[in-house]
């Protein structure tokens, strides 16, 4: 009985696919930059460096060049945060391996590009259609932080190390600057852990009008993994009026973005509220910027 064609195809497919994947594997290794490649890329960056620049990588995890970039501002997050990068004057992208050829999001403009053997270095200008008018995290000292339980409101007046405490310092019950792993990377955020039977509020009184308010919020990676506590409610109020509210389930991962118009002239008050019935591990974080 003759061997069926199907068996022959299957039989020879194994060595043929083995050869194919061997080639793929060799190629994957061959394209890895050497220390000399990283050093050369870093030298290009240093040569053209200007104040306000930042270095990022493509893919972002391929950060082998970091040691040669010491002293510069380098984004070492696990994944890109193009929104935060857009605040820089220019972004240097060191591209290697399967990141070569990948581009920043729409709206970014390439200023310069140097292609080398295993690494490309390109300089990018962020979208220039707006300018940052107010950074809430940077202006944390201007925030009015309070906790409201029923009809009682307690103002948190103890401001230390860019954090507002209600009374004595506490390891996690405060509103202030932090950096936490959220939705794929460590982010610089405003930490606002929910408090038992209370509404936590952070209010900024003088946010310029004629701007667009961009808010990001989410639970920390740890909080979402822990799946503890109850749902967390995050609300945004402009001039005392609630314009947005979101209820985050206790395992909800993500770094969510919302935009609000602040029309007219002068200033507005912008407040953010956080509450949870059971605040166990409800590590809510947010950032906000007003763009003109």
């Amino acid at each position: 009985m003759k061997t069926p064609r199907k068996t022959m195809i299957a039989g020879f497919a194994i060595p043929l696919l083995s050869i194919l994947f061997f080639g793929v594997s060799l190629r994957q290794t061959a394209r890895v930059p050497s220390p000399a490649d990283w050093e050369a890329a870093a030298a290009i960056v240093r040569q053209g460096w200007q104040d306000g620049d930042v270095v990022a990588f493509m893919p972002q995890w391929a950060q082998g060049a970091s040691p040669w970039l010491r002293g510069l501002r380098v984004d070492t997050g696990e994944n890109h945060d193009w929104y935060e990068l857009s605040k820089a004057a220019r972004v240097w992208l060191i591209s290697s391996m399967n990141g070569r050829g990948d581009l920043p999001p729409e709206g970014w403009t390439m200023i310069d590009s140097r292609l080398m053997d295993k690494v490309d270095v390109s300089t990018w200008s962020p979208p220039r259609d707006r300018t940052l008018a107010f950074d809430f995290r940077g202006g944390i000292d201007k925030a009015v932080v309070s906790r409201t339980r029923g009809k009682t409101t307690q103002f948190c007046s103890n401001f230390k190390k860019n954090r507002w405490f209600c009374g004595q310092e506490h390891p996690w019950l405060y509103v202030g600057q932090e950096s936490r792993d959220i939705a794929g990377r460590v982010r610089d955020i405003i930490w606002a852990h929910a408090v038992d039977r209370a509404v936590v509020e952070a209010l900024w009184r003088e946010v310029p009008r004629g701007t667009t308010l961009v808010v990001h919020y989410g639970l920390t990676q740890r909080a979402a993994e822990a799946r503890e506590g109850s749902e967390t409610v995050f609300s945004v109020l402009i001039d005392g009026k609630q314009v947005f509210s979101d209820t985050l389930k206790n395992d909800r991962h993500g770094w969510f973005r919302r935009e609000f118009k602040l029309p007219g002239d002068g200033t507005s008050s912008v407040a953010f509220r956080v509450q949870a019935d059971d605040p166990q591990s409800r590590q809510l974080c947010f950032t906000a910027d007003a763009w003109k």
């Binding site: 061997t3 068996t7 020879f12 194994i14 061997f22 510069l72």
Partner: protein, 611 residues
């Protein structure tokens, strides 16, 4: 009936085992994982019991002596650590604190024993028994496959196992995970030999009982290696009840099934009696309070803490864990050629087993070289069961691939069977083209096919072997999968090894290093092996240390951020990477504080025990 094993099989098996041993010994540049550090310490402490055994045998067997020498790491059986300790005493090249006073801190009770042969590095001496046992597994695979399948299956299965990067990496360590793979495989082989069909057992009662006793002793030794072995009887029982239930539940004259107690295979009885006995004899902690210690042991592993696992960009920290985890991780971390062979072998073998069970032999066009109707099921269950244990949503998955490795050894048998399809294709070539009809030509083509299948796997095994536990195959992007797909990178503190040359060259005198995930006992061994400058001091406190070695684990990213801010520098001064993926970042303090004292600080809350 099985194939009769001949001298050639033992020689061939031993030869391949020797090759594997040479591969292992030639690639000992692999760091010490956390658990290995703990076992180094345990092995060292246990080894002092041998002195007491020689000096005063009567006191060596007292509770006081056992409690003194075997107090550390009681949550794992002692046998492997006793072997590692014995090997260390025999072969290790220790430092003498009289001539090297700084070495006092490197040893238990501040003084090492006198070297006996003193011919190898201390870590290698500790690892030697594991290297030998893990090499013997290659021989077991050959013997099993040669006896129940064919020599070609044996060859391909053995090679497939030898060229698995993760298994190869773990095979270096003085841990229990790979020795228990070897023991599981050995027990399975001995059990199957002791459990032929009933008629054959009745015909060769003596031989059956002899083999059953071997299986029982082997299971005891397996249990004395690691707790994975406790699951072995369940696999055998499942197989027996599917394949041979007619033996113990035969029909009587009126067609009703009755229990034939006497037909239960002797291997089960031997395992029942000898297994616990051997466990008891080889684990001194059981000698004086067996029930209490067993209760502690079982409770420890039944309620084990959950380790984090980074899997496709999601960090799993508690149940339910993804059922797909062991299957997908294996698909990603076994070289593509071996996956292809294994899947082909699995599909073909299973189809054939079903047809055999249904007596539809006419449908089997080219039978696989299988001895015994239910051998395939036996191999399949031994492959599947370890995977299923980890796939259960409530089982901790620990992040690595080692915990279901006993199943992978049986998967290698299916890889061996998968090669039959390649051989069939070559035969088909001969049927169609006269040039390929000659036996020598077909043999040459088969050899070439085997080479093109095994060379990529071998290359994957050796390339980046120091970081072999971070290997992902080419189909998923190679090592780059760690970054691109968001997968586990580092494996429990071993990557510090690759940063040591940089530290030795660049760290200032008396520098304090926060070794992060590297255990204190691993650092001690780096000193003892001369891999770390003796003036460098570990200090698990990034607020004060001069350097912080961040081992890239997703769960530690917040810590990394805090630590580098404490260091005053956001950018690493040195990166250990594998194929472009950072595995470890070294951060350096920007301002150097004047050092007033040079403490050696042990990590706070070091659990002193691990998986």
């Amino acid at each position: 009936m099985t194939n009769r094993l001949r001298t050639f099989d033992f020689v061939a098996g031993l030869f391949l085992a020797g090759c594997y041993f040479a591969m292992l010994v030639g690639t000992t540049d692999i760091g010490f994982s956390r658990d290995e550090g703990f076992y180094f310490k345990a092995a060292e402490e246990y080894s002092w019991w041998y002195d007491e055994l020689l000096d005063d045998p009567s006191s060596a067997f007292t509770k006081k002596s056992i409690d003194r020498h075997f107090a550390y790491n009681p949550e794992h059986p002692a046998l492997p650590k006793m072997l590692y300790g014995l090997s260390w005493r025999l072969f290790g090249k220790m430092h003498d604190p009289k001539t090297e006073p700084w070495a006092r801190v490197w040893y238990h009770n501040s003084s090492p024993p006198k070297p006996i042969l003193g011919i190898m590095k201390e870590s290698t001496a500790m690892r030697l028994p594991a290297l030998l046992i893990n090499s013997l597994l290659v021989m077991f695979i050959w013997l099993f496959a040669a006896e129940y399948f064919s020599r070609r299956t044996a060859l391909v299965a053995s090679l497939s196992w030898m060229f698995l990067p993760h298994a190869f990496w773990h095979s270096h360590l003085a841990c229990f995970d790979m020795p228990v793979v070897a023991m599981w495989f050995l027990v399975a082989w001995l059990f199957l030999r002791a459990t032929p069909p009933l008629e054959e057992r009745l015909r060769n009662r003596r031989q059956t009982w002899f083999r059953a006793i071997l299986a029982g002793v082997a299971w005891g030794l397996a249990m004395s290696t690691k707790h994975n072995a406790w699951f072995i009887p369940a696999v055998f029982l499942a197989w027996y009840m599917i394949a041979r239930y007619d033996e113990v539940l035969p029909r009587n004259g009126i067609g009703r099934r009755r229990l034939a107690f006497g037909n239960i295979p002797p291997a089960f009885w031997a395992m029942l009696v000898l297994g616990p006995l051997v466990l008891f004899l080889t684990w001194p902690k059981l000698w004086f309070d067996p029930i209490e210690h067993l209760k502690f042991y079982i409770a420890r592993h039944a309620k084990h803490e959950f380790y984090w696992a980074y899997f496709f960009g999601f960090l799993h920290v508690k149940p339910p864990f993804p059922i797909s985890f062991p299957f997908v991780m294996s698909a990603m971390t076994i070289p593509v050629p071996v996956i292809l062979l294994s899947l082909t072998g699995l599909a073909r073998a299973f189809r054939e087993w079903i047809r055999r069970r249904a007596d539809r032999f006419q449908l089997i066009r080219r039978p696989l070289p299988v001895r015994g109707n239910d051998t395939i099921l036996f191999v399949f269950l031994n492959f599947l069961f370890p995977f299923l244990i980890i796939a259960a949503p409530n089982t901790p998955i620990f992040g690595g691939t080692k915990h279901w490795m006993p199943g992978v050894a049986f998967l290698a048998i299916f890889a061996g069977l998968g090669f039959e399809t390649v051989l069939d294709a070559i035969r088909g070539l001969g049927e169609r083209f006269a040039a390929f009809n000659r036996r020598t030509v077909r043999f040459a083509v088969a050899l070439a096919c085997l080479a093109v299948i095994m060379i990529p796997a071998a290359r994957d095994t050796f390339h980046g072997h120091t970081n072999g536990s971070t290997y992902y195959n080419a189909a998923f992007g190679g090592f780059g999968a760690m970054g691109r797909l968001g997968m586990q990178r580092e494996f429990w503190g071993n990557t510090a090894f690759s940063a040591l040359p940089w530290l030795n060259e660049n760290a200032r005198k008396n520098a304090q290093i926060d070794f992060h995930d590297t255990a204190w006992d691993s650092v001690r061994m780096y000193w003892r092996d001369g891999l770390l400058r003796r003036d460098i001091k570990p200090l698990w406190d990034s607020e004060r240390a001069d350097y912080f070695l961040f081992h890239w684990h997703k769960e530690f990213l917040d810590l990394e951020d805090r630590s580098r801010k404490a260091m005053g520098d956001e950018v690493p001064v040195h990166v250990v990477e594998q194929d472009g993926v950072p595995l470890l970042n070294v951060y350096q303090r920007t301002e150097r504080k004047p050092i007033t004292s040079l403490p050696v600080v042990r990590p706070v809350g070091d659990p002193g025990g691990d998986e």
